[in-house]
Symmetry: C2
């Protein structure tokens, strides 16, 4: 690979001039610029980004730290982030943490070592709690999850409201005993639990500890939790899940238990996935505006990279409730179907 030095030589100028031409392009005669460009063409010269980064103390890489790219929510976020990054000349370092605080810490370290321009991060509660005591020399945008006492741009769903709406929908459709499965590792799970409890209380329904499960955001965990719920002496009539992975597990469990949806067990959850509309009945969900979330997060980050002094913003988006068959009203009395 040709270096800037060789370009300078074949163009008959100094490396400084070549650099000027290629960077800002100011203060250089058109004729000289021409010669430089020709040399660049001829040698197929490409600036070495590593050297440039070392010298300029900045880079065009942004880190994306999420728990698992296979979670449809993060799959979608990742795609958008990469899109925006690409459009703005940035490149994306992908990091999966599996909700492991240790891995989060290691990746955060890596971000320092590698001199990234900034990071988009969806931290565990554990990491979120310790973040305020740390200093970073790059901006971090929090996505999906909140971090207390930490000045950072943040993009969130209004989780309390969304879960409240979801639970209220169930209640309005006649469900009274509503089990729930929340993520235990993230602030998101906590907030959604709040919304769920709010809805119950407001409608005079009891909040039962045995109806509330906390799990990792994983299919198997959802399956296990739903199974446990169904095995209760007095099982719930509906299950509310807080992410698509546990929702998937819960659906599998309901099927495995040979219960019919929604007569024997209703099911609602978060996140639009390919299958919520393909299964029958289709699943009632709160769709998160993943495109918007990712887009805003990436844009906030890139803005802050450009202007580190800009005051942090917190963007809170609203989910969209899609009412579908899995939570259809319970029919009782005369028009109830024969079981």
């Amino acid at each position: 690979m040709a270096s800037i030095k060789e370009v300078a030589e074949t163009a008959g100028v100094s490396t400084a001039t070549v650099s000027r031409v290629l960077s800002h392009g100011q203060h250089v005669r058109p004729e000289v610029r021409q010669r430089v460009m020709e040399a660049v063409e001829k040698l197929h010269y490409r600036p070495n980004l590593v050297a440039r980064s070392l010298r300029s103390q900045q880079s065009n890489t942004i880190g994306l730290i999420v728990s698992d790219i296979r979670n449809p929510f993060f799959t979608s976020i990742s795609r958008v982030v990469e899109d925006i990054a690409y459009a703005q000349g940035f490149t994306v370092l992908l990091c999966n943490t599996d909700e492991d605080a240790n891995k989060e810490s290691i990746y955060l370290q890596l971000m320092r070592d590698t001199n990234v321009a900034g990071v988009i991060f969806s931290p565990t509660r554990q990491t979120a709690a310790s973040l305020s005591q740390q200093r970073f020399d790059f901006p971090i945008v929090m996505v999906d999850r909140v971090v207390a006492d930490f000045e950072a741009d943040t993009v969130l769903l209004d989780n309390v409201e969304a879960a409240y709406r979801l639970a209220t929908h169930l209640i309005n459709n006649g469900f009274k005993r509503i089990g729930a499965i929340f993520g235990e590792t993230s602030s998101t799970g906590l907030e959604r639990q709040q919304g769920y409890e709010q809805a119950l209380r407001q409608h005079g329904l009891p909040v039962l500890a045995e109806y509330i499960k906390h799990t990792q955001p994983r299919v198997e965990a959802g399956y296990a939790a739903a199974t446990a719920l169904m095995k209760l002496p007095h099982p719930p009539e509906a299950i509310l899940t807080s992410n698509s992975l546990t929702m998937e597990g819960a659906l599998q469990a309901i099927r495995a238990a040979n219960l019919s949806l929604p007569e024997d067990m209703a099911l609602v959850g978060f996140d639009e996935t390919p299958w919520t509309m393909l299964v029958q009945p289709s699943i009632t969900i709160i769709a998160q505006p993943t495109y918007e979330i990712g887009k805003i997060a990436a844009e906030l980050l890139i803005q802050r990279i450009a202007d580190p002094s800009r005051p942090p913003r917190q963007v809170i988006l609203r989910g969209q409730l899609h009412v579908r068959g899995s939570s259809a009203p319970l029919r009782t009395g005369a028009d109830a179907p024969v079981r």
Copy 2:
């Protein structure tokens, strides 16, 4: 951030010694090493990876270039690749190309500029055709798709065989008029078409051009193609799709047309996704060993980074046929269900 120079000073040694301690750790007295380590601790020193990369002319970053991370196949591959990379001290640069040769070329350029250690690449046919005329100063492992006249480690499914098996399964179950939707941008689509045609011919069935659609690997494309197939004067009895995205679209189209699966229209395809087992009837598919594919690709790459002279390997894996309800035998005559 403390630099190696500061560490050297506070430890009372030269930067060379610090570097030695931190790199191989050879040829240095235990006592001195101790002093250095203490200084490192005290200053919270971390080596600057950019500087290290510039100096050593290598890096710990590998590029992953795929068409779309949202394609479940690539989602899965990406996760495994990142896992293996992490375990081996590498980091992953994620690149989506949208089957766009231009974007592929840009990303390949970026890989050069950024001095990556290697790349895992799933190229379009267009790029694959021009790759043999290019030189890269980093190893590339091809995944999912073949590249002619290019010496590179490659990890593939036996696509011809898999599609052959899938089509044969349909034929054995009594389906004679089998439509198909193949990806038009990749070698994979072509190979699967071969297997499909082989199966038809071998069973004395005609290969009809109007039954074969070529599309982008996208849900909407699958929907459109399946719809076109169903609108044919003499529509097929079954549709074979070559990836999960078009399969999803095809299923939507079949539902929209109010046809019942598999009586009015059978459906089979590639790739295990959450929903193939959740929809009813569940979908017959060839499951690709995505974990294995990603793992082997990452391992081959890392091996080659360590030993560039190792002869290239081509690993061809076999898909697994999961027979499910969407391709259940056609019943005719006495035991046919009332329509």
